[in-house]
Symmetry: C2
Subunit: 401 residues, 2 copies
C-alpha cells in the first residue's frame, strides 16, 4: 500500500462529499463561524467525545445520534460553546438540528453537531437558522478550506489533510479538518475534527477503528493537559469508492493505517499551533513493559510545566525529565534508564558530562525529540507537545476579556 | 488550648534546640549553604519523604535512619541535590554523616540528612567536611534564622514559624523552618522542612502524627504540580517540656492541632514565594461525598495552567474551573454544582449574569478564595496554590544556565 498525501486536500477530497463555511455573525470580527460537511450518499458515522464530566449540549445530542448508524452531515459553529447554559443548551442544539434536517431532507439523527467558543453564554440561534439556506447553497467539492476556516477560534491557520491509497484495484480517499490551539481552553472548547472517507465500512467497525486511531493520535498530543467540555471527533464513511465492505483483515489494516496518517498530521498541526508555542516536542518513551506504561511516562514528561519551560529556554535540563518520569506512577529503575536529547545521550543511569554546545544546537531546533529508554521491556509510545512560553500565559491570562 | 504564634520563632524556639547556618562555598554567590539543627537531649525522630521513584542519596540514607527511633540532629546543604550521580551519591552522604556523628559524639543513624540544589552534579564533599567544626561551634538558641537562610535556593525569603500552647499545666513549643519556591523544581529539589518540639512523644506516635499533618498541609499546596527527587519533612521531639508522654487522646489532639498550624503557615509561605507568583489562591471544594473526592477536585483546579493563568490575568473565567473539576476523575453533576469567586456566586448549575466589576475587584486582591460546592455531600478540602505568570516561565526557562 502506498499512501499519497494530499496536502491541499481536506474533508471534501473523498468522493461524494461537499463542504461550506460562512460568517453568520457569531464572531464579532465578522470572520467565518459556521461550517457544514455533507455526504451525498448516506454514510455510516462514528464519533469519539470528550471524557470531561462537563459536556456541552451538542456533545450530549451527538452522543445520542451516534446510536443511529446513518449520517449525512456535520454542522459546527465557532465563537460559542453552547456549554453550561442550563436546559436551553439542549433545546438550542435540537432547534438547529431539526431546521438543518428539514433543509437537507434527512432525519435529525443523521446529523452530528458541534460548537466551540465561549462557555456559559447562550448560543445565538436566530443568526444560525437564518444562515442555513446559504450554508447549504454554498456546498461544493472545493469547500473544505472554507469549512476548516469557519471552525477556527484562537487557531492561527486552518488545519486540513487528506490521503489516497490503492487497495485491491480501488483508490480509497480519507480527508479531514481539525481545530484546536491549546490542548484545551474550556472557553474555546478546543479540539474538534471531522474526518471523511469514501470507503464502504459498517458502522460498528468504523467506530472501533476511529476509537483506536484517536487513542494513538489526538489522544497523544497535549498542550497544557486540560481537557475541554466540547472535544469531538467525527468520521463519516459513504462507500462512494465502491467495492466490497471493509470489515477486517488486510483491507481494514490498510484503512486504519491511512486514517491514522490523516489523524496524526492533523494532531501535529494542533500542537504546532499551540498557544504561544515556539517548539514542537516529541516525547518518546522506549524500553517499557507495556505501551500503557510508556504512554503514562511520556505524558507525565510532556505535561510537566518545568520540562516545557526548559525546552522554551533551550536548557538541557534532563533532571526535570527524569523527575517527571519519577512521579508518573510507573515502576522503573532510575539507574537503568537513559535519556537522549535528539541523538545526544545526556543521562545513562547517572548524569553524563555531555557537550553543552552540542546540546544547545539540538535544543535550538524548532522540532526536538527526547527519548527516555526505561530498559525494562520492548514497548514504546510517543506523546507530542509544545514548549511553554510567556506568550501562553499572556494569551490565556486575559482570554475572556 | 490557646496557641500563641511566635512569628519570629523557628526551629530553635522549642527548649533544648540549637541551630546554625553558614557558607561553606557550595553557592557561587558566597551565600549560606549549610544548616544544622541540633537537640541537646536525645529526641525521637519522624520523617516523610518524596514519593518520586527517583530519590536523591540523602533521602535514601535518611529513610534507612528512620528505622532507628532516636535522633540528635538534621544537617542540610543547599546548592547541590546529590541526586542522579550514581553510587558515589550514597558514599558522599555517608561520609558527611560519619564525620558529623563523630563531632557530635552520636551515631550516624541519629542524624537526618538532606540536600537541595542542582541534580546530576557530584556533591563537593571536602568544603562540607571542612565546615562541620564551625557549624557545630556556631550552634545557638538564636540560630534558627541562620539555618533557615542556609537552606534557601530560589526562595526569596527565609521561612520560619513557631507556636506555643498550654496543656495540663505545661507549655509546649513547636517550631519549624522550610524552603521551597516552586512546588518543585527537580533541579532545586524544592520542598524541605525541619520541625522541632519539646513535647515528649514516642516515635511511632510522632511518625503517624507527622504523616497525617503533612497530608493536610504540605501535601495540599501546589505551585506547578511537579514532585521533586529530594522532598523531605523531618520532625524531632526531645521531651524538654517535661510531663507525661503524649500518646493519645486530648493531649495528642492538642499537639496535632498545633503542629498543623506550624506546617500550614510554612506551607503558605512556600506558595507565597512561588516562582513568579503574584497571587495566593485557596481552592476550596465543599459538598463532596468524601474528603478524598474534595481534595482530588481541588487539586485538578489548582494545577490547571488555564485556571492559574486566568487568576494571573484577573479574569473571572469560571468555565475553566468547572472544566477542571470535570476532568478531575470524580463523579458529580455539573447542573448541581456552584462556583464562587470570593463571596460572589458566578455559577449555579448554569452561568450567572454576575457583576463583572465586582468580580474584577475580588480578583484584584492578592489573596483569593474560590469555592466549588459539589452539593452531593458534607466533605471538604482546600488546596493552596499561586497564579501562573510569565515570570514563572522566565525563571524556569533558563534555570540551569
Amino acid at each position: 500500500m502506498k499512501t499519497i498525501a494530499h496536502k491541499s486536500g481536506g474533508v471534501a477530497t473523498p468522493r461524494g462529499y461537499l463542504a461550506s463555511g460562512l460568517a453568520c455573525g457569531l464572531k464579532k470580527s465578522g470572520k467565518p463561524d459556521l461550517a457544514l460537511v455533507y455526504s451525498e450518499p448516506v454514510a455510516t458515522g462514528a464519533a469519539v467525545f470528550t471524557t470531561n464530566k462537563v459536556k456541552a449540549a451538542p456533545v450530549l445530542v451527538s452522543q445520542e445520534h451516534l446510536a443511529h448508524q446513518h449520517k449525512r452531515a456535520v454542522i459546527i459553529n465557532s465563537a460559542n460553546a453552547n456549554a453550561c447554559v442550563g436546559p436551553r443548551g439542549r433545546e438550542d442544539t435540537l432547534t438547529i438540528a431539526h431546521a438543518l434536517a428539514d433543509l437537507l431532507h434527512t432525519a435529525p439523527t443523521e446529523l452530528f453537531l458541534a460548537s466551540t467558543g465561549v462557555i456559559g453564554v447562550p448560543l445565538p440561534v436566530p443568526p444560525i437558522l437564518a444562515a442555513l439556506p446559504a450554508l447549504k447553497e454554498n456546498l461544493t467539492m472545493d469547500g473544505g478550506t472554507a469549512a476548516a476556516r469557519a471552525i477556527m477560534t484562537t487557531d492561527t491557520f486552518p488545519k486540513e489533510y487528506a490521503v489516497a491509497y490503492q487497495y485491491d484495484g480501488r483508490e480509497i480517499r480519507i480527508g479531514g479538518m481539525a481545530k484546536g490551539s491549546g490542548m484545551i481552553e474550556p472557553n474555546m472548547a478546543t479540539m474538534l475534527a471531522v474526518l471523511t472517507t469514501d470507503a464502504p465500512i459498517p458502522q460498528t467497525v468504523l467506530q472501533q477503528t476511529l476509537r483506536a486511531v484517536v487513542n494513538r493520535t489526538f489522544n497523544r498530543i497535549t498542550v497544557d493537559g486540560d481537557t475541554s467540555t466540547n472535544d469531538s471527533v467525527f468520521l463519516l464513511a459513504n462507500g462512494a469508492a465502491g467495492g466490497p465492505l471493509i470489515n477486517e483483515g488486510p483491507a481494514l489494516a490498510a484503512f486504519t493505517e491511512a486514517l491514522e496518517e490523516v489523524c496524526r498530521h492533523l494532531a501535529w498541526m494542533i500542537v504546532k499551533d499551540g498557544e504561544g508555542a515556539t517548539k514542537f516536542i516529541s516525547v518518546k518513551v522506549t524500553g517499557a513493559r507495556t505501551e500503557q506504561e510508556a504512554e503514562t511516562a511520556a505524558r507525565a514528561v510532556a505535561n510537566s510545566p518545568l520540562v516545557k519551560t526548559a525546552f522554551y529556554g533551550e536548557d538541557a535540563n534532563w533532571g526535570r525529565i527524569l523527575a517527571a518520569v519519577g512521579y508518573a506512577g510507573i515502576d522503573f529503575s532510575p539507574t537503568a534508564a537513559q535519556i537522549r536529547l535528539g541523538d545526544l545521550l545526556v543521562y545513562d543511569g547517572t548524569g553524563l558530562a555531555f557537550d553543552e554546545g552540542v546540546a544547545k544546537r539540538i535544543l535550538q531546533e524548532k522540532e526536538i525529540t527526547t527519548e527516555i529508554n526505561l530498559n525494562q521491556g520492548e514497548a514504546a509510545a510517543t506523546i507530542w507537545t509544545c514548549d511553554l512560553s510567556p506568550e501562553y500565559v499572556r494569551i490565556n491570562g486575559s482570554y475572556r476579556s
